[in-house]
Symmetry: C2
Subunit: 613 residues, 2 copies
DNA sequence: CGCCACACGTGACTC
DNA sequence: TGAGTCACGTGTGGC
């Protein structure tokens, strides 16, 4: 009925995978703890630490794991859609089984992914930031980020029916919670479910304004954003689809989509069926709906003028289906991850140009039919939850087709084309087992190998998507161009940086220079520029200090210092609207011409190489 | 006897491929023309434009094209070796046939690649720059770069025996020309060949100090560097190998390497032979040289502790050999491009950490035996030049092996192992024709497809290497990590840049800000910082002005300006060794506390968004 | 041995 | 149509 988390090659479903980090051990790290206390307050912290919700992952076994979990989550988080929106965090609460109480189904940490706030979001957060002094606020921001991160990697667990995810899972209904806490007291997070209090508090502390919980067969997907995001049916469907095992999609499709049949042709992000196994939906037989179950299904609501869906091969599907229980009648294909990504977040393809400009657009329903009201009525159906879990039939029945697989596939194609069902034909009993492109050459190992390779590819693509997001002005959309543009961009940035840094000659480490040239710093005297203000008697004395190398007259100072025969008689300063004028009257023991030349030489010479001393 | 440039899939050999750009039409662009005149002088320009050497590519047909030409060239240019050296430009002068005079073999533009000077090289160029004012020099630099680029994309051609490449090709000897033109009059470029005058002049103008010409069967490889590069036998061998068709390598090997037999085991960068077709060199038969022709051949002189050579599959070789005339006796393998790269430039793998720090190391011979003198004695042999050109035997004899190719390969392996020659065995007459992994399924198209895919992969890898070169602190060496690090690096750079730019609020364009913060500028009043010195009477008055935004006390000035209720009573300035202290005594009509808060707020607040007015 | 990363040939698709 | 891009399954080498 279950298999261990992390068994097989489905590493994404494992507990402490890459995004996970580890168990937040409150006792080990005093610094962390005090930080959390500072952010959340003592109340929340006590609640949190005393709360039994925090479990160790080792106490749970995932009932079933989902492949590419981390990738799917990070997809939602790291890849902005064409509206420049992506979720700030995504967690998958996985259906697990407590090792202590075998019959107790709980939702445990599956995997999670979060990201740093983007530019536009920082602005938003700044507005709603706690009213603190500027300095403190920065620190707070940083700490918040860490807490948020910790939060996401924490191992909460929710018994079925308990907590937000638990409730969500039990009811089979999604939750879409928005909280614009400009009005501070009225926190919808807190109202919605008292069991959810802790995490609501945490979320609120982190500036999260929208939390979405979406039940799937395998658990609950939780998404959070610092923005206020309108409810969106496409998103719900897509996420459901992505985070469900393949066999369930037809259930979804039959049940869910029937809510609004017209939507089928706009069924953003779901690509079911493929060319090789043309299992037509009976309902649509003969109806000239243009290949909804075929390969022609496209995103029609992306005004980018680019079809972003690609299909996977039948081999992939069969391969996947093999890992799950096989329901031949429902095997009209699965959504490809790529489609899922595009559907859930939109595509960054072709729309990344202005991504980093902080476009204020919020992910919003595009089709009139996808309104919040419609989505709210959707019942996800509970009947298929928790009932269909079956172990993957790992029975080592291996069929080797022997000959070139292309021929084999063609045959299959012909068969399925004529019979509308891959059950027919002589190859029926073998095909569900294995029908990859090359049916491996004897051993069972390449099966895992294939899966590992898939994940590697997926990861690579993930990075490519992420890279696309950070590189502006991508000339072409192919990988090579992307890399080229990235290289160019890096070079450009480095050149810019060099120029900027050459302006202010390094003193100490360069990064320190950049961090604070002009900051109020009362407690410690660093070597960066600073302002000291004291008010006594009737006047305010402002003392501005800066490293000599950063001062506009630094070279002059150096010249004066180098030649101890010169002395400053008078120094005045004038500021206009645009310029500051320092005037130094210098006297030396030599002739004025000599002094002039000296100063001129010192000031114009390439004396940058000297060390500041 | 030949095939059209660009025919087939060997796109790299085409005339105006990606690196090429296009024909430098002097008549069309007056601006360009005057720029060139300014850079090169009228003399050179006239010579250039009146010279018949400039040909249109359409007048030439490549006699044979080399696969991955652009990749190979950009490899030499864009991928620094472990000494941080890479060539500034690389051109392949391709053996072509004039369409006008069919019997006239000329060297025409094959492809070319150049890059921007690196940091360290800029320093070098600055030293030898024309003595111009500082500002003008920047412009000149930029123009030079463009001219250099144009130079590289120009369509010179060299009849056999004429010009540097032509001579080089005719003689079958390489040319290694260094010119340290600090002593300006004595230009070795000019001395070496009068026909080469134009390009020598151009090269000199571009700051090129080393030009290497290496003849191969298919043309002449020209490399240039702004550095002085010592003659290097490894480089010569490697480049020769890379830019020769596969069948010629044994010729090289038999003739060239025999100069110094001991070098064979150090034959840096040449990986001949592979595991599948173990054609042993007769000379070494039985000799326990550790698999020089086998897969164990490694770079032994890279102290990076990493083996950087990988092997290609036999399929690749056969595929390639198929494109050329097949000389079974000489088919002891070809160099893989990857190896070529590593050999010619060294590997950036594992050594990229300090690459951008402008390491002054120059590509130098590593083996004692690889001295310039040895290299100078090498005769490339002329007998195989131009004699072996044969059209690819495109006869559509198609043999489909039907069964899984792995078995097929294994058979071949066994055969060739036992017979030392793949000619033996029943598949002899078909195998030379086609023996890919999957021998395609009927049509001839996938043959080119395979090649195209190879090139795509190679290009992608190329970019990956280039990316590795610009990303510091690469955590792991795999692609995904590289991408991740690149993304992190971009983000980091962008953050740094943001900080630096926020420090000095933009006035005008940001790039201008960076160019000159403290420069003597007598003739024109720009808005950058400047020093004005006048000497009258007994003292020297130095006036330093800078944009108000760049001044350390800019925010204070702004605060004072914003609140006109404050006035500065006194302003003093003190400079120590390390710091400059501005002290402002400020009086306002309000209480001192209020004033203090105001100043504090103004100084610490986010007032960066305001425009300087 | 298994895992990981890579390169390869190939099919599918797009423009 | 064909060149280019991508994903896939597979082989393989290194650890």
């Amino acid at each position: 009925m279950k298999f261990e988390v992390g068994s097989g090659v489905c590493g994404g479903g494992g507990g402490g995978s890459s995004g996970g980090g580890g168990y937040w051990n409150w006792n080990d790290d005093e610094e962390e703890k005090s930080m959390v206390v500072k952010i959340l307050g003592k109340h929340a912290f006590d609640y949190l630490t005393s709360n039994s919700f925090i479990t160790n992952e080792s106490m749970l076994m995932a009932t079933m794991s989902l492949e590419n979990l981390q990738n799917k989550l990070s997809d939602l988080v790291e890849r902005p859609n064409f509206n420049n929106f992506s979720w700030n965090y995504a967690i998958f609460w996985q259906v697990s089984e407590s090792k202590l109480k075998k019959d107790c189904v709980v939702l445990g940490w599956g995997d999670g992914c979060c990201r740093e706030p983007m530019e536009g979001e920082k602005e938003l957060k700044k507005i709603e930031a706690l009213r603190l002094s500027f300095d403190d606020d920065e620190v707070i921001q940083r700490m918040r980020k860490r807490v948020l991160q910790k939060l996401h990697t924490m191992y909460f667990s929710f018994p079925k029916g308990y907590g937000g995810p638990g409730k969500c899972f039990e009811l089979g209904k999604h939750l879409w919670i928005c909280c614009d806490d400009d009005k501070d007291g009225d926190n919808e997070f807190l109202n919605c479910d008292s069991d959810y209090y802790v995490r609501a508090f945490l979320a609120k502390s982190a500036g999260i304004k929208t939390v979405v919980l979406i039940p799937t067969e395998l658990g609950v997907v939780e998404l959070g954003s610092v923005r206020i995001v309108d409810e969106n049916l496409d998103l719900l469907k897509t996420v459901y689809s992505v985070f469900s095992p393949p066999f369930a999609h037809s259930s979804l499709f039959n049940g869910f989509v029937n809510v609004n049949r017209d939507e089928e042709k706009f069924f953003c992000g779901i690509d079911i069926g493929d060319r090789d196994i043309r299992v037509m939906d009976h309902r649509l037989e003969g109806v000239p709906v243009p290949k909804i179950f075929g390969k022609e299904l496209k995103v029609v609501n992306l005004n980018l003028g680019r079809k972003i869906f690609k299909k996977k091969l039948a081999a992939r599907k069969i391969e996947e289906r093999k890992s799950w229980s096989t329901y031949p009648n429902e095997s009209n294909g699965i959504r490809s991850l790529k489609n899922a990504r595009d559907g859930a977040n939109g595509s960054s393809l072709g729309g990344t140009q202005g991504l980093r400009q902080g476009c204020p657009g919020i992910f919003a329903p595009i089709h009139p039919s996808c309104t919040s009201n419609v989505a709210k009525q959707v019942d996800w159906g509970n009947d298929f939850l928790l009932e269909k879990f079956q172990p993957p039939q790992q029975a080592p029945i291996h069929i080797d087709f022997g000959v070139g697989s292309i021929v084999g596939e063609r045959e299959v194609l012909n068969n399925s084309l004529s019979c509308k069902d891959e059950k027919s034909g002589v190859t029926q009993e073998r095909r569900p087992r294995k029908r990859g492109r090359k049916p491996a050459n004897g051993r069972e190992e390449p099966l895992n190998h294939v899966e590992a390779e898939r994940q590697r590819r997926e990861k690579l693509n993930q990075r490519f998507y992420a890279l696309r997001a950070v590189v502006p002005n991508i000339s072409k959309m192919d990988k090579a161009s992307l890399l080229g543009d990235a290289i160019a961009h890096i070079n450009e940035l480095q050149a810019k940086l060099k120029v900027l840094e050459s302006e202010k000659p390094t003193f100490g480490n360069a990064s320190k220079v950049g961090s604070s040239r002009f900051e109020v710093n009362h407690e410690e005297m660093t070597c960066s520029s600073e302002v000291d203000i004291e008010a006594n008697q009737k006047v305010v004395i402002v003392r501005v200090s800066c490293p000599i190398d950063l001062h506009p007259a630094s070279k002059l100072f150096q010249a004066l210092k180098d030649s101890d025969m010169m002395s400053v008689l008078e120094s005045t300063l004038d500021a206009t609207n645009k310029h500051v004028f320092h005037t130094f009257v210098i006297k030396s023991h030599e002739s004025e011409q000599l002094t002039k030349e000296k100063v001129l030489a010192a000031v114009s010479g390439e004396s940058n190489s000297r060390k500041p001393d």
